[in-house]
């Protein structure tokens, strides 16, 4: 603590004098009018009253006076040490992308430094090490008064591009030998030129570096596309402890589709987080975001490359290829058309444009065609081939395995063997997890030559182990061979639904391509760019259009800030991590003093508090003095206290009585994220119900069966997480009693439509958790059920997903008002109901659309009405019949 005006403290020795003065002056007596004063003249008291001020009152006054003196001396708490050097101070601030994460702390530290400089009477120069928005190189300001520097500092914002150490070093050199340096570092070298920069700073004068021991900023790298997943990559300055980072997959409008966890091993610079998304969702991905880090480096914008996958089709016999039911391309076209862009033409035409996948059916490539194809595959193309009579006769070089000449026939008049079915897919196959239908039979195929690598190369095989689908990577691409034809001649595979799924998975394996533009297409103008905090905004003034060809190799700079470029129908993303080296920890500057950023507590001026305290003491003194003179009665003070006190005591304990309001409840799963989804979902539903119906629901409650009394809640929402264990006996007993007494439990496995992708293991978990529950016989929920017309008339009951069956009690139990005690579904309703604090829906619905969300809410309203009114609406159904009967 220091004093800004220490000379005021010289007044402190006057206090004893004040003490003496106050002591010798007795308190002034009370004044009373008294007509019989003549009778009092000359009367002497039997005992003498103390004619001096009571000591405690004196002490009170002395303390008040002392506080005023100390307060006027303007003490400042946490003022920190002295600034480095003497003379003007150069404040160097890293304002590149890496500084954005803890920008407010940096600004606090910088302001504290300015306050210190102001007290020491030093002038300050400011040097921001990143180029500014107008692409001007970093330059140091001349030394100026602190007030001016403060406004300059306040205008400083983190930039979405890296710092420029070389230019900053040049700027710092202008200050060589002039004073001290306070350097607010982001902890990374920030590209080349660090040593030069450090030397330049040390040349200015004594250096104090304010930084954290470990740079907190992380960099989200471009993700890697794999067969059924997107692998997000996170980079950081290596640190000694393991760490975790959460990557959010978001739509373009900021709604979260999925989240994934990346775990850094100790001293690892990079970590990966696989993001598993159903194909429908993957096309809606707009960006990846590092949770909790608001900087341009924590955002990767995804453009069309991650979605568009044009598929080229080429048949060996083009004339009959598209003939319905028999043509080679007929089934392929029908399987791929809904999800992919299909192109047809000659091989040269197809390869002239960007292609993700090329499917050849019974096509023998030779000569220049084979060379062109090989080149295309090696550059990352996915070549899918189907066998056929021609290929069986003339195997070419573009095959994953060596084929035996001729084909193999199974079943038929001359064969002992029966047509073979498919074996289950191996775990390393991209088709793993797909169910194999029994009706698929293969009657004819080409055979691969046996070899050591054949097992690894096989993605699908027949029941007898013969390879059916083989593959081999080649260059950056891959060749996949189906050992059957693409029509129904050799197998039933093209007739089955499995064919469609297999093809889609294959297409998802491929690398996406950008909008195919000719080399001479116009440069891409910046449309929306990220600011330093990772928010999309309009481009800064210096942002310039970028030629298409240069985009892939472009380095982010003020001229090309990260963001979206190009026309609206063909946006291309330029990300900060593009062509940027991984962040490297900056070595210490020789001879510099180091201080942590967080350690610089903000200065706090104590003077106002001290003066206020002194004033309060003086008010007390005034009251006491008035009381001593009899001008203020104790009753008045008591009255004043009585008036003030209730305001203090009026705060009731915040323990809501659950019986006072109707509210929905959810069962706590222990998974914080799932519980938060449940809470916000039920809150959103309660809001919706309150707006649209006469029901008035309070905020939802979290309950633990067996611990909390469940009898207050009409409806329990129970999300089943994949790792849920068997509930304890007390919980099971409580839930059974709850169901017996008319309660409704909505059990939600949350995996509908996503093939367990979102909630793996939910079905097994459902089996575990409901083991002890007395679940009645169930039947699918139909539109005839009361639940389908308790408030709205509903045909289906979507949540975040749709299409799965919802199960309710099969038999009508009159004793329980025919209300189903349990409703089991997998539509993840809470996620569909959930709203963010801003009022927007928190999670995208799948497949999507406002209609689905509205229907999800309507199902929720029906559910609440069903829980509150029982089968009331069921009775209503009979009203016309009753009226008719009455009429007769």
């Amino acid at each position: 603590m220091i004093f800004a005006a220490p000379w005021v403290l010289l007044a402190l020795p006057v206090l004893p004098l004040l003490w003496w003065l106050l002591r010798v002056t007795p308190p002034s007596p009370r004044r009373e009018i008294f007509p019989a004063v003549r009778m009092l003249m000359g009367l002497t008291a039997t005992a003498e009253t103390p004619a001096r001020t009571p000591w405690w009152l004196l002490l009170l006054r002395m303390i008040a006076a002392g506080l005023v003196i100390v307060g006027l001396a303007r003490p400042v708490l946490d003022a920190g040490g002295s600034l480095p050097g003497s003379g003007p101070l150069l404040l160097v601030v890293d304002d590149g992308w890496a500084a954005a994460v803890d920008w407010s702390r940096r600004m606090t530290a910088a302001e504290a430094a300015l306050a210190r400089a102001e007290r020491e009477g030093r002038r300050v120069g400011l040097l921001a090490t990143a180029p500014d928005e107008t692409a001007a190189a970093p330059a140091a300001t001349p030394a100026m008064p602190v007030s001016e520097a403060r406004t300059r500092l306040a205008a400083l914002r983190p930039k979405p591009w890296p710092v420029d150490r070389v230019a900053a070093a040049a700027a710092a050199r202008e200050w060589a030998g002039r004073g001290g340096v306070l350097y607010l570092a982001d902890g990374t070298t920030g590209g080349s030129g660090w040593d030069d920069f450090a030397t330049a700073l040390a040349a200015v004068g004594p250096v104090e570096v304010v930084r954290d021991a470990v740079a907190p900023a992380r960099l989200l790298l471009a993700p890697r596309a794999e067969a059924d997943r997107l692998v997000a990559r996170v980079a950081q300055v290596p640190r000694g402890l393991p760490a975790e980072a959460t990557v959010l997959a978001q739509t373009g409008d900021g709604r979260t589709l999925a989240r994934a966890l990346a775990s850094f091993a100790p001293n690892a610079a990079e970590a990966e987080a696989p993001i598993v998304l159903p194909p429908e969702l993957r096309n809606r991905l707009g960006r990846l975001v590092l949770e909790g880090q608001s900087s341009a480096g924590a955002v990767v914008l995804l453009d069309e490359r991650w979605r568009r996958r044009p598929v080229g089709l080429l048949a060996g016999e083009p004339t009959t290829a598209s003939t319905p039911l028999t043509g080679e391309l007929y089934y392929l076209q029908r399987a791929l058309a809904p999800t992919a862009e299909i192109r047809q033409g000659t091989l040269a035409q197809l390869l002239a444009r960007e292609l993700s996948v090329l499917i050849l059916t019974d096509y023998v490539a030779d000569g220049p065609d084979a060379d062109a194809l090989a080149k295309w595959v090696e550059h990352g193309g996915l070549l899918v081939r189907f066998a056929g009579p021609r290929l069986a006769e003339h195997p070419d070089t573009l095959l994953p395995v060596k084929l035996m000449a001729g084909d193999r026939q199974l079943g038929g008049a001359m064969s002992w063997s029966q047509p073979a079915g498919l074996a289950a897919f191996a775990a390393n196959s991209p088709f793993a997890g797909l169910t194999v239908p029994d009706e698929v039979k293969v009657t004819q195929q080409v055979l691969a030559e046996p070899g050591a690598h054949l097992t690894d190369a096989t993605w699908a095989r027949l029941a007898d182990g013969t390879p059916l689908v083989t593959q081999a990577p080649r260059g950056a691409g891959r060749i996949v061979l189906f050992h059957v034809t693409a029509n129904a001649d050799w197998s039933d595979l093209p007739l089955s639904g499995l064919f469609v799924t297999i093809l889609r998975r294959l297409v998802d394996l491929s690398v996406g391509v950008a909008t195919d533009e000719a080399a001479d297409s116009p440069p891409l103008a910046p449309a929306e760019t990220l600011d330093g905090f990772g928010q999309l905004a309009s481009p800064p003034p210096a942002a310039a259009a970028i030629p298409v060809r240069e985009l892939a190799d472009a380095v982010v700079s003020p001229r090309h800030p990260p963001g979206l470029y190009g026309p609206e129908n063909g946006r291309r993303a330029l990300n900060l991590s593009n062509r940027m080296p991984l962040p490297v920890a900056a070595p210490a500057i020789p001879g510099a003093r180091e201080a942590p950023i967080g350690g610089v507590a903000p200065e706090r001026a104590l003077a106002p508090w001290l003066i206020a305290l002194a004033l309060a003491l003086l008010v007390i003194d005034l009251l006491v003095s008035l009381r001593l003179r009899g001008l203020l009665r104790a009753a008045t003070i008591a009255l004043a206290l009585f008036v003030i006190a209730p305001a203090v005591w009026a705060q009731e304990p915040q323990e809501p009585n659950p019986a006072l309001a109707t509210r929905l409840a959810y069962i706590v799963t222990g998974d914080a994220q799932a519980d938060e989804v449940s809470r916000s979902g039920l809150a959103g539903l309660s809001e919706y119900v309150n707006q649209r119906t006469a029901a008035n629901l309070a905020a939802p409650a979290a309950v633990v069966p067996g611990q909390d009394d469940l009898s207050f809640y009409p409806l329990l929402y129970w999300p089943i997480t994949g790792d849920a264990g068997t509930p304890p006996g007390a919980a099971v007993a409580a839930l059974n009693a709850y169901m017996d007494n008319g309660g409704i439990i909505l059990i939600d496995t949350g995996d509908g439509g996503s093939g367990e992708g979102f909630n793996p293991g939910a079905d097994a978990a459902l089996e575990r958790v409901t083991h002890g529950l007395t679940v009645p016989p169930l039947a699918p929920l139909t539109s005839a059920h009361v639940l389908a017309h308790a408030f709205y008339l509903l045909q289906d009951f979507p949540g975040r997903f749709t299409g799965d069956t919802v199960w309710v009690q099969r038999d009508q139990d009159r004793s329980n008002d025919s209300v189903s005690p349990v409703i089991i579904g997998s539509h993840d309703w809470a996620a569909a109901w959930a709203v963010e604090a801003s009022g927007r829906p928190a999670y995208a619905v799948i497949p999507g659309g406002d209609r689905q969300r509205t229907l999800a809410y309507r199902f929720g309203v029906n559910l609440v009405m069903y829980a509150l009114t029982g089968n009331y609406k069921g009775d209503q159904v009979h009203v016309p019949a009753l009226l008719e009967r009455l009429g007769q």
């Binding site: 009373e32 009018i33 008294f34 007509p35 003549r38 009778m39 009092l40 003249m41 008291a45 009253t49």
Partner: protein, 297 residues
């Protein structure tokens, strides 16, 4: 202070609870005018008192011939002596009277004025003549007289706590109402002067409860109401007993002065109801019960 008419009305209301007051007077004041009620003895008046036989020396004109004609003797008709007593009232108007403590609800001067007017109302209803002890006062009688007295009371000068020197009719009755906190010698002089007229009378000391009890504590500077008299008492609790003794001595002195002059003396505190004081005055001024019963009008 409130206006004359309301003060008169309040006094009337207070006096309503007592019968009209007929002042007991052994010797009626010489200047008394003819009153409306008899003195239960023969004298000048209109009312018939008695017939008595004609005695030698009686004037022949006094013979009641009608009565005499009924018998052989001559009778003289005698009338009752009808005369009104004059009562002079004084209310202390000193500044010290215009004060009340926190324990009292009314100032001493209000209470004294109320007593004065209530007494006057009683007297006037009894047919007596009432005047205020002031050089400007005119004798009042009848109902209208009360209003006039109230108005006069309003206009009285403040005074110095002692009755002024005014020429009084002999044998009148005097009622002095005040706090009577002046030095005993001064009071004795004033009372002696009255007794020498001669007049009979009654003194009422009106005190505030605070004056009677001195309910203060701590360090207090006491000041007089108007004059600059003041004293600083460091600790009031310590002198409370001494003050009570002094007050008792004052009251004992007053009683002694009154007894010597043949006056009555009573004490009234403003936190007591005025009815009590009025009743005390009534009994002090009214004739003895035996005398009154013998009247029988």
């Amino acid at each position: 202070m409130s206006g004359a008419a309301p003060a008169a009305r309040r006094a009337e209301a207070l006096a309503d609870r007592l019968p009209p007051l007929l002042v007991a007077a052994e010797r009626v004041a010489a200047t008394v005018a003819q009153g409306v009620h008899g003195r239960r003895r023969v004298g000048q008046g209109d009312s018939f008192w008695q017939f008595r036989p004609f005695l030698a020396g009686d004037a022949a004109s006094r013979i009641d011939w009608r009565q005499s004609a009924r018998s052989d003797r001559a009778y003289i008709r005698e009338t009752e002596w009808e005369a009104a007593q004059t009562v002079v009232l004084w209310r202390d108007g000193a500044p010290g009277m215009q004060w009340r403590s926190r324990q009292a609800t009314t100032t001493k001067i209000e209470r004294a004025g109320l007593l004065t007017l209530a007494l006057a109302a009683l007297l006037l209803r009894g047919g007596e003549r009432v005047s205020l002890l002031a050089s400007t006062s005119r004798t009042a009688f009848g109902r209208v007289g009360l209003e006039r007295l109230a108005a006069e009371l309003e206009r009285l000068p403040e005074g110095d706590g002692l009755p002024p020197e005014v020429k009084l009719p002999r044998h009148a009755r005097v009622v002095l109402i005040g706090d009577l906190l002046s030095p005993l010698a001064a009071i004795q002089a004033a009372v002696g002067r009255l007794a020498a007229v001669p007049v009979g009378g009654h003194l009422v000391q009106v005190l505030d409860p605070a004056e009677a009890l001195l309910p203060y504590s701590g360090r207090v500077r006491f000041e007089g109401v108007r004059h600059g008299l003041q004293t600083l008492i460091p600790r009031v609790e310590g002198i409370r007993d001494a003050y009570a003794k002094r007050l008792a001595a004052q009251q004992a002195g007053l009683a002694a002065i009154c007894a010597a002059a043949g006056f009555g003396f009573s004490i009234h505190r403003t936190d007591n109801p005025p009815e009590a004081a009025l009743l005390a005055l009534y009994t002090a001024l009214a004739p003895q019960a035996g005398v009154r019963a013998a009247g029988g009008r």
